[in-house]
């Protein structure tokens, strides 16, 4: 059953395109909030954990060979050994201080400035004005404590903080002050939205995964559908939004009743989490 090169690449290209699109959109949201270095570290750990779990499921009770993980990941066994050791020794990623420290270089600088008494004046309750260079309590020292990445200079960090309007530099006095004391990298509202939103994306990914695995059994599949139209006039869009939002709010009320009707009163072991998620979307890329 030989198939032409074109066909062989076609399916892979479809998947690659879909994956690329999703990851690009996700990454776009994370720029400025998380470093690439940390994202890659996280992905490496998750990938190895999930591969191991999958292989264990395939052969219950058996040890998972490093070579089998290497085959699934394309990463050599020495690196996998290192990752496995990290997983075994450390706390979960979100509780691992070392991981969180390097989450976003600027985030850590900001965090030190607002919390470390070397850079934060507890008497005034304000971040100190720091000498740009020097040893004790300088901006240079703070950047050095926050970021241990090769080639990341104090000047580059200062330049970026100035660009995003977080600091003010006094070139005569050679000092720098933090003028934005709220966490500008991520606000509480943004964090809540990301938390709720990412949970929904995770749920959707699980539903897709489930449906792909049960693609031959319509009864086992979970409901997942979209209704949309390509031909909305931009002038009518506010009205479209209003009508659909109103409708979705009503549907939400009904769905809550439905789910509640089968929900048990008390929490017990072995219960299942189940629910629905609804959202409105727009895409003006074709219009552009």
């Amino acid at each position: 059953m030989a198939v032409s090169d074109k066909t062989a690449l076609h399916d892979v290209a479809i998947l690659t395109r879909a994956v690329e699109l999703v990851f690009r959109k996700l990454i776009r949201m994370l720029i400025g909030k998380m470093s690439l270095k940390k994202l890659q570290e996280m992905i490496q750990i998750i990938f190895v954990e999930e591969t191991e779990a999958k292989l264990r499921k395939e052969s219950p009770g058996k040890n998972v060979a490093l070579g089998d993980i290497a085959l699934q990941t394309g990463v050599d066994t020495r690196t996998i050994k290192k990752i496995r050791t990290y997983i075994a020794v450390n706390e979960p990623i979100h509780k691992d201080d070392t991981f969180l420290d390097g989450f976003m270089p600027l985030f850590k600088v900001f965090d030190l400035w607002m919390n470390d008494t070397r850079y934060f004046d507890t008497k005034t309750g304000k971040p100190r004005v720091l000498a740009i260079e020097g040893e004790d309590g300088s901006f240079e020292e703070m950047v050095g404590s926050a970021i241990q990445s090769r080639g990341l200079t104090t000047r580059a960090v200062l330049k970026r903080l100035k660009e995003i309007d977080v600091v003010e530099v006094d070139y005569d006095a050679d000092t720098v002050m933090l003028k934005q004391e709220d966490n500008i990298f991520i606000s509480k509202d943004e964090l809540d939205l990301l938390d709720v939103g990412f949970t929904a994306i995770g749920n959707l990914a699980s539903t897709i995964d489930h449906n792909i695995r049960h693609h031959l059994d319509d009864d086992a599949k979970y409901f997942q559908r979209g209704s949309w139209d390509y031909q909305f006039s931009p002038e009518k869009i506010p009205e479209v939004r209003k009508s659909i939002h109103k409708y979705l709010r009503e549907a939400d009320k009904k769905s809550r009743k439905l789910i509640l009707s089968l929900s048990e009163r008390d929490g017990q072991k072995g219960q299942v989490t189940a629910g629905i998620s609804m959202f409105y979307f727009e895409d003006d890329s074709l219009a552009k």
Binding site: A18, L21, R28, S35, L36, F47, F223, F232, P234, R256
Partner: protein, 292 residues
């Protein structure tokens, strides 16, 4: 009727880490066996740097983006960034990069080298030759070394996986291997690939909605509707019943939504039109909040 909030005691950075971890874990689970970690990392690295560059360019139109700024945003040193930026797929779509596609999984690389490297081709027919399982090059063993210079990967593990996927046939009496299908289908069938494509498109739409909502202020009234309702106290034996009830309910909801949208649809297509719609899905987790 909501998952208990286990995140309230965590610092902001930990909450964000947990949220990112949750979504990447589910997506990676979906992609296991379809793309290798190596290739996924390659893709993410390029996309991240491209997007970081684009983001700075938006802030300062017309100006060059210094590598030092990208270093601050990515946490990578400038030498690594120069390497990433000089990759052949930088600023190019991955799905059009033949090399990337042919190496998307280790198995794919084996089949690609087998059908493209002259060492493994039959001189007369130009087709992949039948290879002895072991021994000096050209053999299946040498093919594994040539296509996957990854330490610790054995020819034996490839035999099993490629045989199971129907790509090779092993003649155990003669200790030879032949390629019978050089196709790599990520999800086994075209139908599954199509499902994955549609599913990923829905994920993309949801990400767009979240990104839109992040860009609006909560009280502006401009946020797009995005909500979920669930219980974490469903008896396992009631799951089938709930699935059926929700299927019926959401099918009706879908039908009605289409009716609501219909009057707004313009009769003819024009270039300034906007795509808009709704998406809904049912989900289940075997243990409460296991994503956390």
């Amino acid at each position: 009727m909501a998952i208990a909030d286990k995140t309230t005691d965590l610092p902001d950075v930990a909450i964000l880490t947990l949220a990112v971890e949750n979504v990447f874990r589910k997506l990676i689970r979906l992609l296991l066996g379809k793309i290798s970690l190596k290739k996924l990392q390659e893709m993410i690295q390029v996309i991240f740097v491209e997007e970081a560059e684009a983001s700075v360019q938006r802030e300062r139109p017309g100006k060059n983006v210094p590598l030092s700024t990208l270093a601050v945003m990515t946490g990578f040193d400038t030498r690594t960034l120069t390497k990433i930026k000089s990759k052949r797929n930088y600023m190019k779509p991955f799905h059009e990069e033949k090399r990337f596609l042919s190496e998307i999984t280790p198995e794919c690389s084996v089949l690609d080298v087998w059908e493209s490297n002259s060492k493994y081709l039959d001189v007369k027919t130009g087709k992949p030759r039948v290879l002895p399982m072991r021994g000096p090059s050209p053999s299946f063993e040498s093919l594994i070394n040539d296509s996957n210079p990854t330490r610790g990967v054995t020819a034996m593990s490839f035999f099993q996986r490629l045989e199971a996927s129907g790509s090779i046939v092993i003649d155990r009496a003669n200790n030879t291997v032949s390629m019978i299908d050089k196709r790599y289908t990520p999800f086994g069938t075209e139908d599954q690939t199509e499902n994955a494509k549609i599913g990923m498109a829905a994920v993309g739409n949801l990400v767009d909605t979240i990104a839109h909502n992040l860009s609006t202020t909560p009280d502006s009234g401009e946020s797009f509707y995005q909500r979920g309702c669930w219980t974490n106290r469903l008896k396992k034996s009631d799951a089938t019943k709930l699935r059926a009830l929700i299927r019926k309910f959401l099918s009706k909801t879908d039908e009605k939504a289409r009716k609501i949208m219909k009057p707004f649809e313009q009769e003819t297509t024009s270039s300034d039109q906007i795509t808009a719609g709704i998406s809904f899905f049912y989900f289940e987790e075997s243990s409460p909040g296991s994503g956390y």
